[in-house]
């Protein structure tokens, strides 16, 4: 299972790529594998303000439905239309083409680094 060093993570299995106060958000490979093949994604709309920890969307796989939690508080700047149209990108490239949305982060939340996240999914934390 891959955890990328340069990203930050949440306990809800989302990753954030922080560039100044803009975060690109996706779900981790671990989460994608646990869900199974993703067939439907609902993302927050551009301009919507999401609050950290709140449900802001939905990811549906062949077998289950999972809520998507906002990993940070702020305004949604962009959503990935190609992931909405082709949800399997979340499985094939969770850290790349399968990104979900970009958010203008008002305050950088407490996040896990790659090592702490790897420990979490391996049950060491």
């Amino acid at each position: 299972m891959s955890v990328l060093k340069n990203l930050s993570y949440t306990e809800d299995h989302e990753w954030l790529d922080l560039d100044g106060d803009v975060a690109t958000v996706g779900i981790t490979q671990h989460a994608a594998e646990a869900l199974g093949e993703v067939v439907f994604v609902q993302l927050p709309s551009v301009g919507e303000r999401v609050a950290q920890g709140d449900v802001c969307g939905e990811i549906e796989s062949t077998k289950s439905v999972s809520d998507l939690y906002a990993p940070a508080t702020g305004e949604v700047l962009e959503m990935n239309d190609s992931t909405v149209e082709t949800p399997e990108l979340i499985n094939s490239d969770p850290y790349g083409k399968g990104w979900l949305f970009r958010v203008h982060v008002e305050e950088v939340p407490d996040l896990l680094d790659a090592e702490a996240y790897a420990a979490l999914v391996e049950g060491r934390a």
């Binding site: 594998e33 199974g36 093949e37 067939v39 439907f40 549906e60 062949t62 077998k63 439905v65």
Partner: protein
């Protein structure tokens, strides 16, 4: 702690993701369940179903014992043939759906769902008590490997001495694969042509590898339980725990034909089942077809056009073959007519669906 399958090491080597299924650790998927589903519809899939229970009923009165214990007429089944039937409670409620193979004049094998193994074995034992028949749970002695899909006959023919083309649907025969003696049956639960191979635990790896190698040029993929569920749903086949349980009889499930009232002698559930047949079921298993990509799932409410709750979804998924959401639900008969417009409550969002005839998918033969 769940029991690993005899094929666990092979699955792990193939990168399988495992799930606990009725106390057994079984592969849920290898690569992706959609590709596995497609492989079964278009080529072939290789399944490990070793979690299923194999219960032997043998003795001079094995046939009459099963006629009494189950709703089918098993003593009329010829040696080398199998029947899909049910074990019902005296209330008529379904305790399990099973496939019964007649292996010899006085020997049958009842294959039950893993979750119901203990109930089926104990009910069969109790019900066979007054007959000259012995009930033995042989589940731990067997591995079960299934090859399902349009190419499965060619694949199985390549690894066995048996005359596969002569084996009818729901027929079985003793066969040899790589020197391993096993029971080869033309049965399955995917809506495709297919075979199930009941072999010893010791033979499981050899049989699996032989089938995997023979299947590779045909596009065979190892397939997990995730795609088995979407395959059987498309084929309109009920799953115990979803469509079948103690509070439905075979009549609600649209399977009244499995109850053989005309067979000789008494059988458990006859009175209740006859009453249900005569009165007609209050609700019937109905197919629902939707649009878009969001599937109604087990437990979601089915609504009438005026918003009243009229039933509950028993199984639902985005159909990989049909590329639309499909579901099954128990509904009042007047709302189950194909073309009836209904709706489902998908986590607060009301989505339109239409009642359709089952199955959703039928193979072209």
């Amino acid at each position: 702690m769940s029991t690993p399958s005899p094929l666990h090491d092979i699955h792990a080597g193939l990168g399988a993701m495992f799930t606990d299924f009725a106390g057994c650790s079984m592969p849920v998927r290898y690569g992706g369940e959609l590709a596995e589903h497609r492989a079964v519809r278009e080529a072939a899939g290789l399944f490990d179903l070793s979690h299923m229970a194999e219960i032997e009923v043998a003795g001079p009165e094995a046939g009459p014992a099963l006629d009494y214990a189950l709703v089918g007429h098993l003593s009329a089944v010829r040696v080398g043939r199998a029947r899909y039937t049910m074990l019902c409670h005296s209330t008529g409620g379904v305790l399990d759906d099973v496939v019964v193979y007649r292996l010899a004049e006085r020997r049958f094998m009842v294959v039950a769902n893993a979750a119901n193994a203990a109930v089926v074995a104990s009910e069969l034992r109790g019900r066979a008590d007054r007959f000259a028949a012995e009930v033995t749970d042989r589940s731990s002695e067997y591995a079960l490997i299934a090859v399902q899909g349009p190419r499965s006959a060619e694949i199985v023919a390549a690894v066995t001495d048996a005359d596969v083309s002569a084996l009818p649907y729901y027929g079985s025969t003793l066969a040899s694969v790589k020197g391993h003696e096993l029971l080869l049956a033309r049965t399955g639960y995917t809506g495709e042509d297919g075979f199930e191979l009941y072999c010893s635990v010791a033979a499981a790896e050899g049989v699996w590898q032989a089938l995997a190698e023979a299947g590779e040029p045909h596009g065979l993929l190892p397939a997990g339980l995730a795609c088995r569920d979407t395959l059987r749903l498309e084929a309109g086949m009920p799953l115990y725990g979803n469509e079948l349980h103690l509070s439905v009889t075979p009549f609600e499930a649209g399977l009244g034909r499995v109850v053989k009232f005309e067979k000789p002698g008494e059988f458990v559930g006859r009175t209740a089942l006859a009453a249900r047949r005569d009165a007609g079921p209050q609700r019937v298993l109905t197919g629902l077809s939707g649009t878009g990509r969001r599937a109604a799932r087990h437990g979601y409410a089915v609504l009438s056009p005026d918003g009243a709750r009229v039933g509950e979804v028993t199984s639902g998924a985005l159909s990989p073959t049909l590329a639309k959401p499909v579901a099954m639900a128990y509904l009042p008969p007047e709302l189950s007519e194909p073309g009836t417009r209904l709706a489902v409550d998908i986590r607060g969002r009301i989505e339109p669906v239409e009642a359709v005839a089952l199955p959703f998918y039928q193979r072209s033969t």
